[in-house]
Symmetry: C2
Subunit: 302 residues, 2 copies
Amino acid sequence: MRTFVAAADAGQFQEAAGALAITQQAVSKRVAALEHDLSVRLFARSARGVQLTVDGQAFLPHARELLRVADRADASVRPGRRALRVDVHSRRIGPAVLLQDFHRAHPDISLDVVTLDVDAVGAIAAVEAGAVDATFHAVAVRRLPDAIRAARVLDEPHELLVGPRHPLASADVVTPAQLAEHRIWMPGMAPGSEWADYYLELAAAFGLTIDLAGPVFGNEALLAEIAGSASLSTLVGEHSRYLWPDSWDLRRIPVRDPAPVYPMSLIWRADNPQPALRTLRRALRASTPDYPVWLPKLSGTY
Amino acid sequence: MRTFVAAADAGQFQEAAGALAITQQAVSKRVAALEHDLSVRLFARSARGVQLTVDGQAFLPHARELLRVADRADASVRPGRRALRVDVHSRRIGPAVLLQDFHRAHPDISLDVVTLDVDAVGAIAAVEAGAVDATFHAVAVRRLPDAIRAARVLDEPHELLVGPRHPLASADVVTPAQLAEHRIWMPGMAPGSEWADYYLELAAAFGLTIDLAGPVFGNEALLAEIAGSASLSTLVGEHSRYLWPDSWDLRRIPVRDPAPVYPMSLIWRADNPQPALRTLRRALRASTPDYPVWLPKLSGTY
DNA sequence: CTAGAGGCACAACCAACGGTTGTGGCTCGC
DNA sequence: GCGAGCCACAACCGTTGGTTGTGCCTCTAG
């Protein structure tokens, strides 16, 4: 492909061969092979050089695009100068949305969003090791390793997700106190994880029934279950993206007075030289809600 | 790359090998070679299969994109089911702009814009031969080959392009009659071409001095010449895109009363089965100006 | 605790690919 | 008409990339 583009740019195989440091015959062979694979003629040969055919003209921009993508792919992992790589715990929750906004605002910065599938300790270890440039987690800033920095970037308020038959289905807003009478189901939180700790502390603070146990069949199953139930509900982050069929008629009801928020920090290595990281940090300015919030004490490992 | 994606999807080399109809060892070798080239480990191997590393996760979407682009590149020339291919005489004039608008409105339709670099006769021959799906030219509809259809899609009005020292530099609008006193320079029109015929007929109709001869050094040179001259001017299509440094201070002045328009038709083969062509035809509805226009008699080959 | 199943890597082997040099034919310009 | 410039074809050969055979590791079932 690179040879084809070089030949198209040069207008002759000889010169392209020079640029690629191979012989004219090799260029001829490569182009012939490409033409054979595509079963189409890309160049019209003459004694003065070559000229793109119609098919060649149509193919050229695609070939260039292919090389661009290949170079980007290479740059995404090439040690030393790879793209900014950020870990999010799930692609459906707040931080992923923040990153998407960031990408829209800075399309020139190449960004890789990955999901490490580890807890805060593991993610911070990955940041320390340089495997990722940054991660999002709830941390008590005082107890981080020396080389690690953190900045609060998102206080994520919660919404109650209920089906149409749930008693609170028609509420515009609910208070934590109101939730005490209802069962909140959040399966899949590993005991001891920051998530489990958070929801246990929340439950204790307001006398709630938050069910962290139970079989985990995935988010889709959970949503389906809630859609059909008159008593089940769950909590989701305000920025999170969950999709369901319209017919399920699920409702998201803000929780306020106070609003339990989940405090997310961006975590990075102090000595990370990536300029894009600085840009990301600047772009992610925390906007504190203008209503009363409830925050956990964050007594976990960090 | 395809092997890497297959292995990532399968979660094990064995299964990927089956899907690709090669042996597990070949998959192992291919992945190892890719890892070597990138000097990065993409998979963590275990006795239960393989799992993407962080680098692998970051690389995967790029690899998928690469395959997508490769497939599109292939589809762009693969005989039988290639993308809609339209010839424009120049990427800077009206039809190219129409196509760009069309692409924005229908981003799902893959469109290849090519420049055949031939006259109307050659372009229509290319349409007949199936090398391109459509072309834009000024034609008298009556005399086309049987298998060819045409529809007027753009009556392109002209603007006078002058430098700041030209006598008409400050005019808001000019008439063809006014132009009779000034020299209009349009080098590079081959004698007998539809363009030359048009401008000759225009010159005759209004007693203009239109200079089609002269050395051709390219558009940039022409613009530079005009910018510095107090007497030279040229005509450009209203939709055409020419760029120049701000300091040149060139002005585009509409020609009206009547406005000489250049009538462009979309030309295609009656039996072209491409559904996208139908969409293009529907999208390109001619919008006739609501002011008096001048049209040529179109006495050329077609 | 052990045996077997399942999965990946390494080694040896071999066809085919992709480069090289050498050469011939074509076209254009002097 | 002849040389210069450029591309294609042929012969040649090292390397690549597939194959089969095998060993090692881990997880699990008996």
